[in-house]
Symmetry: C2
Subunit: 590 residues, 2 copies
């Protein structure tokens, strides 16, 4: 790679920055205005969900966007606080310090810093494949359970009660036992806002289109619904003096740019938080990459997952340095950015300027914003995460995947987000390993009149009593090496007439050292039993590698180019070739 | 399965017990006498290696053998204390209490009980496949490093110094700093015994054969070498009064049968020890099954790995209940048992009687046995575990496997046995996942004049500019689902002329839910881009399963029985069929 394109791979801004012109600038600016308006209530709400002062949500929406614009490979991804990561931040930070303390905020900033460092290191080491450990069913289960947890956690703000709890049963118990303390004024704000936002989501767009608005404009207007709710409820609190009737409001928000923060100064905190930080990093990365890939494919653009790790890492480090908490590429905001016409990551940088202006000049207006409004915003946003379709599809398609999905949902609801992710990964891996340790293999015979060999259990084929042909439908690795030995020796032990075993390697793409050792053991044991071991249809790269061991020279048999050739030449090996045995007659000893 | 054979599967004794007769009894009794003589010094030595009173080694060699005779499936496996498990016991127990205290002994008994319960549960749940996580290179690295650790740990007994240490650098440092305190009388016993045992191992058998003894008898006599060393050094200690010259001796050994012990009474101890107990279980199981399989194959017998878990589990529970420590099937003792002619597990039960008699009547004779003699026995036994051949073979065959091997050795030597095993498993799994996330796939074209399709990079084949045929050489699972999407979409993004993509599924044995979702995403995105997605050569079981999803009905293309058919029918799809393009000309855009 030339130094120039190497630089461009590491700083994607060098690639798109070159062709930046006035038309692109106009598109990016338009998108930035729309995203800024949408982001202000969302950032405040997610910070609240994370148990942080609302202004921290604004801080986390400024510098991370600038850094992503420099290092990220998606043209339209919008980074910032998102619901699931906010929930995970709350879960990790509240294990360290009580909500509302400076130590809690420090824990959240530390999570961002740790996550930033981890993502960057994973990116530099090209370890993005680790995200593969999260299967689709596990991710979908985790998102569903998180959506349920988040929505439940916000009900207290709608009802004006104090219910606490980290797990779902604890939250429900808290809500039920606090039902007597419901604040009527809060409910009078919360329920209408909730209803309004649901209507905006489902009914406003068709209504606006009915009034003659274009589909895109109607969509954009519907996205501004939360802003309208924010404005109206602020006016209601001021006009009806609801602050004195027990309606919780946001209160004084510090005015000004994000403070410079020095994270990672406390080794004890790092020791406590590195596991949740790693989980936040991986979940954030998976969410972000999925969104970025979906949007890139729509415009036939490409993203680079390993460089995305670096982009997200830089964003999180920037968030930590400016007093923010963990961020990632969010689905809702990225779609708005895309639909609003963003062409390059510069749109993100312009959004950052918009949010910075808001935190300089708009925060006094937020004093009277009811917390219930923010809670309603969150509930409406996260309920769309809850997915009842996936379990039905998995039930039909794969019970094993359903088990991983269900385990993730149940553990997340009952034991929290961290154990939920871990349970999903572990169950998925165990199911995978269980299957990998029992690969598919078939005894094959010749299809009469052809050179093709097929499974004796599915086709009427010709076999010979002194020759056993096995097709191994999997690469030989340490996960199935033990199985191979057991399988072959079991079959041989059952067949006293056997003189030759042919392993048909047409589907074997690799043989690792454990697979090699099993082959050597099989060769040795068959040799002792007077049975020849032959290989057929070995692929080029596999054969090249086997030649680096002693297997081929010590093989108690031959290597045949085709199974047909092996069948033809070994058929004569009994001196007088035995008559071909029809498969159905031969079943008795197969 | 009939109830009768079900019982026999669970109690293998019901199968072999039926045909027990006088001839088998004679063979079994002979073998038992020989194994008993060999086991007495070995059991004492391994108990000492585990940091336990020597008599605990005898206790661990009585009841476990009886239980294995009932539940085990190998005819000739001999269970009892072994070197590596003794080292792991020492490592785990010394983290809980100082050597020599009752708490240390309690920890060792608890490890046996926990390990017994875990093995039994794994067996009942048929989870033996978990042992597959230990690849051959990891096991061999672990055994090598354990051999080095054990031999080094015993040098202090040969030199008569006090050096302590859990890791290799600490042991070496202890030895070097204690060199001034060497006890000459101990060295005068230790070095000659060491030399004698090495000579017995290498030189005695040929010497005896030279004197006209049969190979088998010479082999058996050589195995009695340690017993001779024990007898001679006891006489030397008594005759030369070496006990008063600083030679450490075994001292008073309680006379009598194993005491009944109640393990697992302390939940705090269980919490501290369950991780090492799990590692001991898995290492012990792997060692035992390897030995059992090797011996069974020699007589064309079979073992059942899941039932072996139950047999070893019962043995360890029995060990714990009778004051012993973790046991497993040992290589050396099993080979002696096999060579001495044992026919059934009854030989093990007779050996148990022999050891019980020894612990009733022989222990007073062991008072003057020098510890240096036991240490020399251990050193000579474990140095055969150290294997310099494997790293050389791995270097030639597979650098990835070499990495797992080296990581296991280094971490075991520097950080101890538990972290060593864990590091080996983790490194092996990461390398596996890394490879599994990048499966092999090839763009294929038609071999001119045939219906065969081959990799364009290895063969001169025919391709069409508007048709891309991809052969996926791996099952589609969540580990490679992301790769599939990236790979296909990348290739499509590079080829603006493309109208059709055919995925050739001849080597796809399964598609899990994540693979399905990726196929659906590819189908959707290709549809948006006006490119058809087709499948060819889909295997029966895979097709059956895909029909349980919506993929086939929503497929933006067709399913072809053969790649040849797909090529023929899609070639016409451009209206006027384009001329076939020779592969080498076409390279530019492939």
């Amino acid at each position: 790679m030339r130094p120039h394109s190497r630089m461009a791979a590491f700083f994607p801004i060098l690639a798109w920055g070159r062709s930046y012109d006035r038309a692109v600038l106009t598109s990016d600016l338009m998108a930035a205005v729309i995203v800024t308006i949408m982001l202000i209530p969302q950032s405040l709400a997610y910070a609240m969900l994370a148990g942080l002062p609302p202004v921290v949500g604004l801080y986390a929406s400024i510098m991370p966007l600038v850094l992503y614009a420099i290092f990220g490979t998606s043209r339209t991804l919008a980074v910032g606080p998102v619901a699931v990561i906010s929930l995970m931040t709350a879960s990790a930070a509240s294990a360290v310090a009580p909500v509302g303390t400076p130590e809690y905020l420090e824990a959240a900033v530390t999570l961002a810093a740790l996550s930033g460092v981890m993502l960057t290191v994973l990116g530099l080491l090209r370890l993005g494949f680790l995200a593969n450990l999260l299967s689709h069913p596990v991710i979908s289960g985790f998102i569903t359970a998180s959506g349920i947890l988040i929505a439940t956690s916000q009900l207290k703000h709608i009802l004006g009660v104090r219910a606490e709890g980290e797990t779902w049963p604890a939250m429900l118990h808290g809500l039920v036992s606090d039902l007597g303390a419901i604040n009527p004024a809060t409910v009078a704000i919360g329920i209408p806002v909730l209803a309004f936002l649901f209507w905006v989501r489902k009914g406003l767009k068709p209504a606006l289109q009915g009034l003659g608005m274009s589909a895109r404009a109607a969509d954009m207007s519907a996205k501004a619904g939360p802003v309208v709710a924010v404005a109206l409820t602020i006016l209601a609190v001021i006009g009806l003096d609801l602050g004195n009737r027990g309606v919780a409001v946001v209160g004084a928000v510090p005015q000004g740019l994000p403070p410079f923060t020095v994270p990672l100064a406390d080794p004890a905190l790092i020791a406590q938080l590195w596991v949740p930080a790693l989980l936040i990093s991986i979940i954030g990365f998976v969410e972000s990459v999925s969104v970025a890939q979906t949007l890139a494919a729509k415009r036939r653009q490409r993203i680079s997952p390993d460089q995305e790790l670096i982009g997200l890492g830089a964003s999180n480090i920037a968030s930590a340095l400016s007093g923010g908490y963990p961020v990632t590429g969010g689905f809702a905001r990225s779609v708005v950015n895309f639909d609003a016409g963003a062409q390059t990551p510069a749109a993100g940088a312009f959004t950052a300027v918009g949010i910075a202006l808001a935190s300089l000049y708009l925060t006094p207006l937020l004093f009277h914003l009811p917390v219930a409004t923010l809670a309603a915003t969150i509930i409406v946003a996260v309920l769309s995460l809850v997915d009842f379709k996936t379990p039905r599809q998995l039930w039909a398609y794969s019970k094993a995947d359903l088990a991983a999905h269900a385990a993730t949902i149940i553990v997340t609801l009952l034991a929290g987000v961290e154990l939920g992710v871990i349970a999903g990964v572990v169950v998925g891996l165990l199911l995978y390993l269980w299957r990998a340790s029992r690969p598919h293999a078939a005894i094959v015979g010749r299809v009469p009149g052809t050179g093709h060999f097929r499974n004796v259990e599915r086709h009427a084929v010709i076999t010979l009593p002194h020759l056993l042909a096995l097709r191994i439908d999997e690469s030989l690795t340490y996960l199935n090496a033990r199985w191979l030995e057991e399988y072959v020796l079991e079959l041989v032990a059952e067949r006293p007439q056997l003189r030759h075993v042919v392993l048909m390697f047409s589907a074997v793409n690799a043989v690792d050292a454990s697979g090699l050792e099993s082959l050597e053991a099989i060769n040795h044991r068959l040799g002792e039993a007077g049975v020849g071991l032959h290989l057929s249809e070995v692929k080029g790269p596999v054969m090249d590698r086997l030649h680096r061991s002693h297997l081929i020279e010590e093989l108690n048999g031959r290597v045949f180019l085709s199974q047909d050739q092996a069948f033809a030449e070994l058929a004569d090996d009994t001196g007088v070739p035995p008559p071909p045995v029809d498969h159905y007659e031969a079943r008795g000893f197969i």
